[in-house]
Symmetry: C2
Subunit: 247 residues, 2 copies
DNA sequence: CGCGGCCTTGAGAAATGTCAACTTACGTGG
DNA sequence: CCACGTAAGTTGACATTTCTCAAGGCCGCG
């Protein structure tokens, strides 16, 4: 069951494709961050030809662990949680996807994780077979994917350290620093860190409970390290936060 | 400081290279498992030309986190622990390398982890620049590396679930099942699982303490799920072990 | 035989989890 | 516009798991 809403392509006559191409990939606001960063104008038109704009509402599951991996995605606007479930319902969030992020690096025949939108989210969807076909003809793109896979692996290894050897305070501090750095690359530096996910999502990404996350954030706020604001935090004492994150 | 002992090449006259090639890569016992699995005879000779046999004693550190990533390795015989350290000495083992494993998938300009041999270990060492040069001329090899990176990422995601959401019993049971499966691919199926690492290494890979590992293994042995043997365990009740690992 | 490294076991401590109550924010319908 | 209901977040009290510290055992090796 496909919960995504594919717009444009389904209703656009073929003759409109080129017009849309110029509006979409070429004009894309997150292109410099995404897999398509290094592509030339002509390549972008090829990419555009197989791109399907897609948007989902908050909470919508658009990738389900174990199902046939038919599509790959780039996040355009919005955000998503990527997670794995145990048979008894325990959940581990393996990452959050923000604008520019690519979902589809580590794919076998089936998806290895599930993904839900955290808020109304726009994505570029690509048929996986089409996408692989395009990649095989473009060494630059292939290299870019390899670089992104390398990054992901390094991030995953850092996450193992966080989950295996850091305490709750270090995990939360590190999480906030990490989110700040990720948003900085998207929207530029800011002491206000958007947190589109709920406390339970933070807990499930850090291997903690919602209560421990809440208590730790409250303590940070009480100690004037952060200020809690709607859907995020403002960093008041960066030095202290970095020290607690041991970074 | 390079702690590896490079043999053969340093003393071999160039004229002997071809002879060594036939003895080394072509006759390699772990080739079917390694990065070089899909290579044709002629390609193997190219690989051999840049390969440097290397062997290290137990406990030798041959990769140091943060140092310039000059070499990549394939394990031939023996095993290694790959780990990251925090400034206060806490250690997270991010994986164990067994025969056939490739070290060098997730490389930036510096190594992202350290590696020590667990026992006397023989490796194929490649200069990273030479290796990349060879890869870029061989799409098969490139594909193989991409597949291996994908595998690593999936394994890393599973490890996040283990570290974030599983209890000590599940971690240990899962670890044993996992090691059994890895050895099965190398030496064929067996209920005897070699464990070349110490208890402290197991603890540091599972985010536990040595005492918790020891207690849990003792309990498994008391419950006749395993039998502890020198440098490993024998699985007595596979069904129970799989159940505890939730696999 | 004695030493050192590794492992095991026990007892008590600490961090985090669990359960429950309460607060806050927000959207909906009267 | 307010009252209500619901979802999310916070806080407290207590439980549990795992850690810490300490002692002792095992075993290979000089």
């Amino acid at each position: 069951m496909d919960l995504c809403i594919d717009i444009a392509r389904a209703i656009d006559p073929v003759s409109h494709v080129q017009a849309r191409a110029r509006l979409e990939c070429t004009a894309c606001s997150v292109r410099s961050l995404a897999v398509c960063a290094a592509m030339k104008p002509r390549e972008l038109m090829e990419l555009d030809a197989i791109m399907r704009p897609s948007q989902v509402q908050a909470k919508t599951t658009f990738i389900s662990e174990g199902e046939a991996a038919s599509s790959v995605y780039t996040i355009n606007e919005g955000s998503a949680r990527l997670y794995k479930l145990l048979s008894d319902g325990r959940r581990q969030i393996i990452g959050f996807a923000l604008p520019g992020d690519f979902l589809g690096l580590a794919l076998r025949e089936t998806y290895g994780f599930s993904a839900d939108a955290l808020e109304p989210t726009r994505m570029c969807r690509f048929d996986r077979v089409d996408f692989n076909g395009l990649v095989s003809g473009h060494p630059d793109l292939s290299t870019r994917l390899h670089d992104m896979a390398t990054s992901e692996l390094l991030i995953a290894q850092d996450q193992m350290m966080i989950l295996g050897r850091r305490n709750a305070e270090e995990r939360i501090a590190g999480f906030l620093v990490n989110m700040r750095n990720r948003w900085a690359r998207i929207r530029g530096p800011s002491v206000t860190v958007p947190l589109p996910m709920q406390r339970l999502d933070i807990a499930d990404s850090l291997g903690l409970t919602i209560e421990t996350v809440s208590r730790t954030l409250s303590r940070f706020a009480r100690d004037k390290v952060i200020l809690m604001v709607p859907d995020g935090v403002r960093i008041l004492n960066e030095k202290m936060l970095l020290k607690m994150a041991d970074q």
